[in-house]
């Protein structure tokens, strides 16, 4: 029988994969991909909790996370396009203005 723990562990593993991607990738588009993985991992956890506690709040949260992800994609891509037009690259190494 699949229990909540199964789903949460899956969610944790997916989250770690996302973290690895976030740390490893230097292309900003790939970073966005990794971020989506993170969000999805969390969504799985939320929905599982929602199901196993018979409470819709988790689903609601997942719902809003999807909305946030959509906004993030729209704005983020717009910014990336601006940056690409300006710099001809979407690599992180071109984004080091905040160097301390």
């Amino acid at each position: 029988m699949i229990t909540l723990t199964h789903y949460l562990v899956l969610s944790g593993i997916l989250f770690s994969i996302g973290l690895a991607g976030v740390m490893r990738r230097t292309n900003l588009l790939m970073l966005f991909f990794s971020t989506e993985i993170l969000l999805n991992a969390v969504n799985v956890g939320f929905v599982a909790v929602s199901k196993y506690y018979g409470d819709l709040t988790g689903q609601m949260f997942a719902f809003f996370i999807i909305a946030v992800a959509a906004s993030e994609a729209a704005v983020g891509l717009g910014l990336l396009i601006l940056w690409y037009k300006r710099n001809g690259s979407v690599d992180l190494t071109s984004l080091q203005m905040m160097k301390g």
Partner: protein, 618 residues
Amino acid sequence: MEKYVYIALFAPLLSSLFVALFATRPKILFMGILASLLIGASMISSFILLFYVNAHGALHVKMMDWISAGNLEIPFGFVVDQVSVIMMVTVTFVSTIIHVYSIGYMDHDKSFNRFFSYLSAFVFSMLILVMSDNFVGLFIGWEGVGLCSWLLIGFWYHKPSAAWAANEAFIMNRIADLGMLMGLFLIYWQIGSFQYDIVFASIKFLDISIVTTIGIFLFIGAMGKSAQFPLHTWLADAMEGPTPVSALIHAATMVTAGVYLVIRCGDIYSLIPHIGFAIASLGAFVAVFAASMALVNNDLKRIIAYSTLSQLGYMFVAAGLGAYWIALFHLMTHAFFKSLLFLGAGNVMHAMHDELNIKKMGGLYGSMKATAILMSVASVALAGIYPFAGFFSKDMILEVAFNEGAYFLWFALFIGAGMTAFYSFRLVMLVFFGEKEHTKYGIHPHEAQPFVIYALMPLGLLAVIAGFFEHAFRGFVTKLLTNYDIQIAHGTEVLLIAATLGIAISGISFAIYMYSRGGFSKTLENRFCYKLLINQYFIPKLYELYIMKPFGAISNFLWQKIDVKIIDFSVDMVAKILYTSGEKSRKMQSGNLSDMLRWMVVGIVILLAVAIFYRPIV
């Protein structure tokens, strides 16, 4: 009637703030006139209040709630009762005259406007002090006058001596204020309120030792403000300020705040007569002690300052022995003739081009008759010759001392009265009569402007006639203060008065006699007692030697060893550690998002580890 209270209180503030706007500008005569007019308005209001209080009794005004925190509730309230209205009248009256006088005196000063701003601010603070219906307001006024005093003593701040004197006065007052604050805290701790009426109503139910402690602490505050014995040195040094300041602050008003405090807290001190007696003893000591220093001093203003000290001693004797109305009466009369004396001295100084040494004066009567007459009148009043004002008040204090059976105190005051008469006339003789020493220094004295003289006239008049208001005053004031009756047999009383008058007159005659003949011989100056007196009993030296120097040494040690080597070092160490760690960890801020994300994940890992391994101790 409330509006007169507000006019009396806020006209000086308005004057101060308005004039302060032009403080850095060159002299504007209008500012002086305006300030005088506003203070005059305040004085008129005070007089109206005086008549109102006389007719209807005390007036309580609550302007607004000021502090309301927890149990602490302090309103911005004012009380105009018999005591405070007397103080108000005295303060505003003297202030008005001094404002007018200052227009003439500060004529050539480049900081003319600033002076009036300070002076008005002082009046405002003083009024707050006397009008407040609670100890906190009193303390604010207390500190306000301290601040204004500091500003005014150091008015010519470019002079190092003035700056030094200002700081000295300020610091001494702070020491005393600590005592005052302790007293206030004790009151609040024990009673839970700062309102006078509540405090005085419930003070009776306190343990007598607590009341004693409160009394001592409050008196320490009064000692500082009124320059009583151990803390007296600042007053003489405060003469560095402009003469109107000396007249107003250091003779007529601020220094009497201590006396006012003791009078105000009469309900407290009447519970602890032994403390009152100690106060009286200290007052008597100071009366003689200061008078003795005045005997030999050659500085015009310092003589008067010591005289002030001495007279404050008298007031404390009266207040300490419970004769509050007498103390207040002496306070008032003293304000008149002492400010007159100071202002006359100011005229002399002007005439002598700021020369203060009385040995270098003499024979000024010829060139400044009006001043000479006024100062002579004031001196006579100070010496306590009938029918001048000083006679009535001072003589009564002597009688009080006698009445209380404190013959020793009486004797000391008696001696003091003789000394007072002597040094007053020594001053008058040396300045106005005798050889014209000043011609040696090429000074051509001239009389002050007429309006200055006219401004002094009321003071002179009051110095003469104020004593005749004794009964009216007594009737007025004792509605609030405990009455004090002198129960000495009439014969004894006459005898005492005769003795006092006698010693005063003999002091005067001795002075006139000696100085009309050219003074004492120089050999006297090598005597030990002369040296002791001219050096003010070496007290400043002692202070310097036993307090300032060790304190300086300790401070130096703390600065050099502890502050620099330990505190500064540790602070610097923190900075250095932060700086080097910042320098090292600057690499973390590579601007690379990848690195930042890695650090973020490191944080996540740490937090997760904490979540696993940390067990809160329940």
